[in-house]
């Protein structure tokens, strides 16, 4: 074979990207030429930028805007005008904090549920009822009781990141091979040492899968939560740009949300590979 699969897939990816950008570019231009593509009310709102162009910005505009954001991501010009880097950092901070607290609760609790059939049976109905609740449904309750939008959004992240980690930890702990536990028993290993040296490494791949699902959901939810709560964060940025009718900025933000989400997933996948073992 001439080129490796990797090289060929890379070429295909680049070609697809170019085709996509070209279609986007020409679709937006012709939309502008034929005229009536734009809602007149929206055109009025857009003012200057609306003249002679489509409602949707073309790739060149988005590229220019992207460059503007990349070259100065951390400027701070008042509460409604912060660099996209600052906004992303706010969101990332909330996600990581909520996720961390969720992990601190979910992993020990998952151990308990996984190791004790009594707790498993007792807690299962609660988990089953609480798990399908949309994390955003907690938002009003959180705002009302906590009375702090910052803490409330972290709480929402906590609650959405909790369940996958809890369920996976419990499952991973409960399905540790009996023979490994028997080895540990015949060696008279204490329960703490067994938990840390046998059960934790045995269940680690399953726990990591739960963490990966959790961080994905948390990153999905933070955008919606920040749109509701406002103030700072990438979700608020998107909402604010919508109010400014800056579709270009929204497209840039969408791109960044995707990239950061991918990055979070890659990091956890990498950690997952570190703790993986082959039987």
């Amino acid at each position: 074979m001439a080129a490796s699969l990797r090289a060929r897939s890379l070429v295909l990816s680049v070609v697809l990207f170019c085709v996509f950008v070209a279609i986007w570019h020409f679709a937006v231009q012709t939309g502008g030429d034929t005229g009536p593509a734009m809602d007149p009310e929206y055109a009025a709102l857009m003012g200057e930028t609306a003249k002679g162009g489509s409602a949707l910005p073309g790739p060149l505009q988005v590229g220019a805007e992207l460059w503007k954001h990349i070259s100065d991501p951390f400027y701070d010009a008042g509460p409604n005008d912060k660099g996209i880097g600052i906004q992303l950092a706010y969101s990332l901070g909330r996600v990581l904090l909520g996720f961390l607290i969720a992990a601190l609760v979910a992993i020990p609790l998952g151990f308990l549920v996984g190791m004790s059939p009594l707790f498993h049976k007792a807690l299962d109905p609660y988990i089953q009822v609480l798990k399908p609740i949309s994390p955003l449904a907690w938002m009003p309750l959180a705002l009302y009781t906590i009375k702090d939008s910052e803490v409330s959004s972290i709480f929402v992240i906590f609650i959405c990141a909790l369940w996958p980690m809890l369920i996976n930890t419990a499952f991973g702990v409960a399905s540790v091979r009996k023979e490994w536990l028997n080895v540990s028993k015949t060696l008279e290993v204490g329960s703490l040492r067994t938990a840390l040296l046998v059960i934790l490494p045995a269940a680690a791949p399953t726990i990591m899968t739960g963490m990966r699902i959790s961080i994905g959901i948390a990153w999905l939810v933070i955008v919606a939560a920040e749109m509701l709560v406002g103030g700072t964060g990438i979700g608020y940025f998107v909402w604010n740009e919508w109010n400014n009718l800056s579709i270009t900025s929204i497209l840039v933000a969408i791109l960044f949300i995707g990239l950061i989400g991918m990055l979070l997933d890659l990091v956890l996948a990498w950690v997952g590979r570190l703790v993986a073992y082959q039987e």
Binding site: N182, V183, P201, E279
Partner: protein
């Protein structure tokens, strides 16, 4: 040879499980089992699949509890697992995330928590060398062959210097060649250290090679100790020359006859003879008594089994 002091004494052991069918009584896997293992003795247990051998070994190890009766080790009833009784599991049971060294060190550290790293390493290395795994210290179990994994399991069990070694068909998953060399190694280790050992096996030749005494268990449910066979071959035997000894075929035929016929028909045998479960009959098949024992040679066993 072995001093005649019973180290393990199994007294009236019964293990029942609740029946799957609702309303039915619990069924006993084995019932009223009595035998003992002397110090420095190698005892094998032979029986058909499902007669409760693993269950019995788990009770000896302290991983399971008997429904009735007791296991006495050194004068004290077994109440749970102990570092004095090391187990070599049928499926090696190595932790796949630990290296060879790590697996053995885990056991050694449990045995001597006060030891420092260097001492633990040195001790582990000794046992890794003993089972001929030098050079594979840092490999993970998934990088080892089946025989090598089983060797790690043996090293892990021996490294804690247990009073008693319990083995559950340790070589049954291996090919004949690997099995043979591991049997040789086990034989030489157990002979030099005079390790008290109890081993479950399906393999008659393995039992003849390794054991001083073979316990025969009938088919379950309600399995019993049918008899105890003294190994009449001299202690200095090897896998290559033991079949030249005059007592080899009498031993082998006796065990084969048990597995093929008597393990099933024992109930009838029991009704006729004056069988006392506390003192199961002890037999010592030799060239002299075999020729006069019709039980061994007269029955054409294989044909009968197939038709039955």
């Amino acid at each position: 040879m072995s001093s005649k002091k019973p180290l393990i004494s199994i007294e009236g052991l019964t293990r029942s499980f609740a029946s799957q069918d609702k309303g039915e009584d619990a069924f006993a896997v084995f019932e009223d089992v009595w035998f003992h293992v002397n110090e420095s003795e190698f005892v094998c247990l032979i029986g058909h699949s499902g007669c409760g051998k693993t269950t019995l070994l788990n009770i000896l190890a302290g991983l399971d509890t008997a429904s009735e009766g007791a296991v006495i080790v050194g004068g004290i009833a077994v109440e749970g697992p102990s570092l004095d009784r090391a187990v070599i599991f049928q499926s090696h049971a190595l932790m796949p995330w630990m290296s060879v060294m790590g697996n053995i060190a885990f056991a050694v550290k449990s045995r001597w928590p006060e030891w420092n790293k260097d001492r633990i390493r040195e001790h582990c290395q000794k046992y890794i060398d003993l089972v001929h795994l030098t050079g594979s210290e840092n490999k993970k179990p998934s990088q080892l062959s089946g025989g090598m994994k089983q060797r790690v399991g043996i090293a892990r069990a021996l490294a804690i210097q247990p009073k008693i070694l319990l083995m559950d068909e340790p070589f049954s998953a291996l090919d004949a060649l690997t099995r043979g060399s591991l049997q040789d190694e086990t034989l030489s280790i157990c002979q030099t250290t005079r390790q008290t050992s109890f081993m479950i096996t399906h393999d008659i030749d393995e039992a003849i090679l390794l054991s001083d005494k073979i316990v025969l268990m009938t088919n379950g449910p309600e399995a019993k100790v049918c008899e105890i066979v003294e190994n009449t071959l001299p202690r200095e035997r090897t896998r290559n020359d033991m079949h030249h000894h005059a007592n080899y075929y009498p031993m082998r035929n006796h065990l084969l006859d048990f597995l093929v016929n008597r393990s099933r028909q024992f109930r009838e045998e029991l009704a006729s003879a004056d069988y006392d479960p506390r003192h199961p009959p002890v037999v010592a098949p030799t060239a002299e008594n075999a020729s006069t024992d019709p039980a061994v040679f007269e029955k054409p066993p294989l044909v009968k089994t197939i038709n039955a």
